[in-house]
């Protein structure tokens, strides 16, 4: 078992596609919650293979994209505080805020460092004991346990210069907000594979119980995605609603209890502002009171005024599945990866970046 080739087998893919085509008679619109799915669907050309009655809408599953401009402006303000070292995942550095980006703040002299893991940020704090080191915590339930572990590590080592600016977000409340707003009619949800590996399948039960929408949790290889789509089409065809798991080699009903325990020990649920979706109750994670000493938002006073999105940018609609990236008037015209107007064009997990990189079909020119 090599775990990759088996899940890219073209013959099995064709068999699944045949099943999907046979059962997808009525118009179906599925939402892939996760930016990683959008990326894989376009990279392997899966969109082109699905029947025309089956439409895939992208969702809000891109951590960088859903970080609100106000929160980003606060992070930039923190980076500009003398002596502060702000550590961040690379994607975040390029997102334009109201007043430049972390990248431009660095060019102006702020000490912004790209790290691959929150543990690297703890190392920076160890090496520079006289300077405050802030880790910009963006991400979903997949990232939050690692960041929680970094806080525990800093505590164990009695580091008093390590801080986390927690902008972590929970995925089920965002899914609920999209369904509650009813702006887009969805027949099923392609569930996020990595998030569900951590949280388990239970938190998705509300989709069938309250919204009568089927979900199938999917991995990120072509066969994972096609199998989940096939399961959803079956549920729709048979008029059933349940939580299916097409990623059983990684996802278990109870989730990753170790990760959840660490996450819940350090963080508590709070309200959070999502780019494009506004304030969603109980959808964020902030350090509990006993870890307040590590909470950058409690230690560093910053002011950031709420700002409107850049003129013409439809990232909000893209994140809510109302628009395809190609329907945004700025796409490929004024907005491209070199000069991104909105975050969906910046992040490797952003829908616009995926459509930009993979969406071009061959044609004579």
């Amino acid at each position: 078992m090599k775990w990759i080739d088996e899940f890219r087998n073209p013959h099995l893919a064709q068999a699944l596609l045949t099943q999907i085509r046979e059962r997808a008679g009525q118009p179906i619109r599925l939402m892939e919650f996760c930016g990683g799915h959008t990326h894989a669907i376009l990279r392997f050309g899966i969109r082109e293979l699905l029947p025309s009655a089956l439409e895939m809408a992208s969702g809000p599953g891109c951590p960088v994209c859903v970080t609100s401009s106000t929160d980003l402006d606060r992070a930039i303000a923190m980076a500009r505080i003398p002596k502060v070292i702000l550590t961040t995942f690379g994607d975040m550095a390029r997102v334009p805020g109201n007043d430049g980006s972390l990248q431009s703040a660095r060019a102006e002299g702020a000490d912004v460092r790209i790290v691959y893991s929150p543990r690297d940020a703890v190392r920076v704090a160890q090496k520079t004991p006289t300077r405050p080191v802030i880790f910009l915590g963006v991400g979903f339930e997949t990232t939050a346990p690692g960041v929680a572990a970094s806080i525990l590590e800093a505590q164990e080592q009695h580091l008093d210069n390590y801080f986390v600016y927690s902008l972590h977000k929970l995925t089920p409340p965002a899914m609920r907000a999209i369904l509650a707003a009813a702006e887009v009619k969805l027949s099923g949800i392609l569930g996020p594979g990595h998030v569900t590996t951590v949280i388990g399948t239970e938190p998705w039960k509300f989709l069938s119980d309250q919204y009568h929408i089927p979900i199938a949790v999917a991995g990120f290889e072509p066969l994972d995605i096609l199998r989940a789509v096939s399961m959803l089409v079956d549920q729709i065809h048979q008029n059933q609603v349940r939580v299916d798991n097409a990623y059983s080699r990684s996802v278990h009903a109870e989730g990753n209890t170790t990760a959840l325990t660490i996450m819940n020990r350090v963080f508590e649920v709070c309200d959070a502002e999502w780019r494009g979706m506004g304030m969603i109750p109980q959808s964020g994670m902030t350090p509990r009171n006993e870890y307040a000493a590590f909470d950058a938002s409690k230690t560093f006073e910053t002011t950031a005024t709420p700002v409107s999105e850049p003129s013409g940018c439809r990232c909000g609609e893209v994140l809510r599945g109302i628009f395809l990236p190609t329907q945004c008037p700025l796409f490929r015209r004024t907005c491209n990866p070199e000069n991104p107007v909105g975050p969906c064009m910046v992040s490797a997990e952003g829908a616009c970046a995926a459509y930009y990189q993979f969406g071009d079909q061959p044609c004579e020119d």
């Binding site: 090599k2 775990w3 990759i4 890219r8 073209p10 893919a13 996760c34 930016g35 990683g36 990326h39 376009l42 990279r43 392997f44 050309g45 899966i46 082109e48 293979l49 599953g61 891109c62 951590p63 960088v64 995942f89 690379g90 994607d91 390029r94 691959y116 893991s117 963006v138 991400g139 979903f140 997949t142 990232t143 996020p192 990595h194 998030v195 990120f220 072509p222 491209n336 990866p337 070199e338 992040s347 490797a348 997990e349 930009y356 990189q357 993979f358 969406g359 071009d360 079909q361 061959p362 044609c363 004579e364 020119d365």
Partner: protein, 346 residues
């Protein structure tokens, strides 16, 4: 085993680079004579004039330069010294030149351990020897601690091009075949994984190697149109540049492109595309269809071309663009990335 060098007087052994090593004074001379010349010695360098005086060539010359900045400076499969020789030798080789001479400029950070510098220079000497080139001139500067990252190396290289060799993207014709000399993405993933402390069951190693031997072997075939080494930006970027400069379309079969299992696994884990990951010991050749099979056979007889594979065709459709036929049989256009690939967050 490397001989242990010691610089400075007999009373004080100096084991790290100091600012004085770049001063032009006694320590500079000790560094040049005790280290650089000791490994890199050849008649042109040994003259120690202001410039190397080289024999006439009576042929077209190729000249190139590149600067090498890498972290970590020692990595599985090589080090910055080996890289600085291979990179420049390979750039010369890609235009069909026989590399002859290199220059080496070093920017050293104060505090660099001398044994590290010695290992790097020894590795440069070994690689230069393997590639059959001489380092004929050099320069060393030392900057204060924190003003450079251990060591930066610039190498310039010169080579001669034989009369019958004329490689150019303008030579590319519809129907030509696209060949790669081996697996893609080894160098970039080895560096990334070592830098970030990621370990996998299959250890990853850089493919860093001088390609001039392989190139001279395949240039015995008449049908080589153009070559390119897919370094930064990887296979995809190099192919897009070739498609643009030849004004023709390319079509690549994803399933044909060799990618080692370990590299593929690491790429999937991090959310990276191996087609955009750097290589330092591989080449892409565009070859006339009539010669493609024999070029491939020649490549496979060379130690650096054992996994050579035909990966696609030059076509008239979608000029200046590279189509990738995915594993599922769908063709999509490959685009250049605007910046370095970053691992996914989620």
């Amino acid at each position: 085993m490397l001989p242990i060098i010691s610089l400075g007087t007999n009373l004080v052994k100096i084991e790290q680079i100091q600012l004085a090593h770049g001063s032009g004074g006694r320590l500079s001379h000790e560094l040049i004579n005790g280290l650089f010349r000791r490994y890199l010695s050849n008649p042109y360098l040994d003259e120690l004039w202001d410039a190397a005086v080289l024999p006439e060539q009576g042929a077209r010359l190729a000249l190139t330069t590149d600067s090498y900045v890498i972290q970590p400076i020692f990595f599985a499969g090589g080090d910055i010294g080996k890289l600085a020789v291979c990179g420049t030798v390979n750039d010369l080789s890609m235009v069909g030149a026989h590399p002859l001479y290199l220059t080496a400029g070093y920017i050293l950070e104060e505090g660099l351990p001398l044994p590290d510098l010695e290992k790097i220079v020894a590795s440069m000497a070994e690689t230069a020897n393997r590639a059959g080139v001489n380092v004929v001139a050099g320069d060393t500067k030392v900057v204060g601690r924190g003003n450079a990252d251990k060591i930066f190396i610039n190498t310039a290289g010169m080579g001669w091009i034989s009369k019958d060799v004329n490689l150019s993207p303008r030579n590319v014709r519809p129907g030509d075949k696209i060949v790669v000399s081996g697996s893609m993405g080894d160098h970039g993933m080895a560096i990334l994984c070592q830098r970030e402390g990621l370990e996998f069951d299959t250890p990853l190693a850089s493919d860093c190697a001088p390609l001039n031997g392989l190139v001279q072997a395949i240039l015995t075939h008449p049908g080589i149109r153009v070559m390119r080494d897919p370094t930064r930006g990887g296979l995809a970027t190099a192919l897009i540049e070739l498609a643009q400069s030849s004004s023709l379309g390319f079509e690549i079969q994803e399933a044909s492109v060799p990618v080692h299992e370990g590299v593929r696994g690491a790429c999937e884990l991090l959310g990276l595309d191996p087609f955009y990951v750097a290589n330092e010991g591989k080449l892409i050749a565009i070859v006339s269809s009539s010669e493609a099979e024999s070029v491939l056979a020649t490549m496979r007889r060379h130690p650096l071309g054992l996994e050579a594979t035909m990966i696609g065709d030059v076509i008239e459709a979608h000029p200046r663009k590279v189509g990738l036929k995915t594993l599922l049989g769908v063709t999509r256009i490959m685009d250049m990335l605007s910046a370095e690939q970053l691992p996914r967050i989620c």
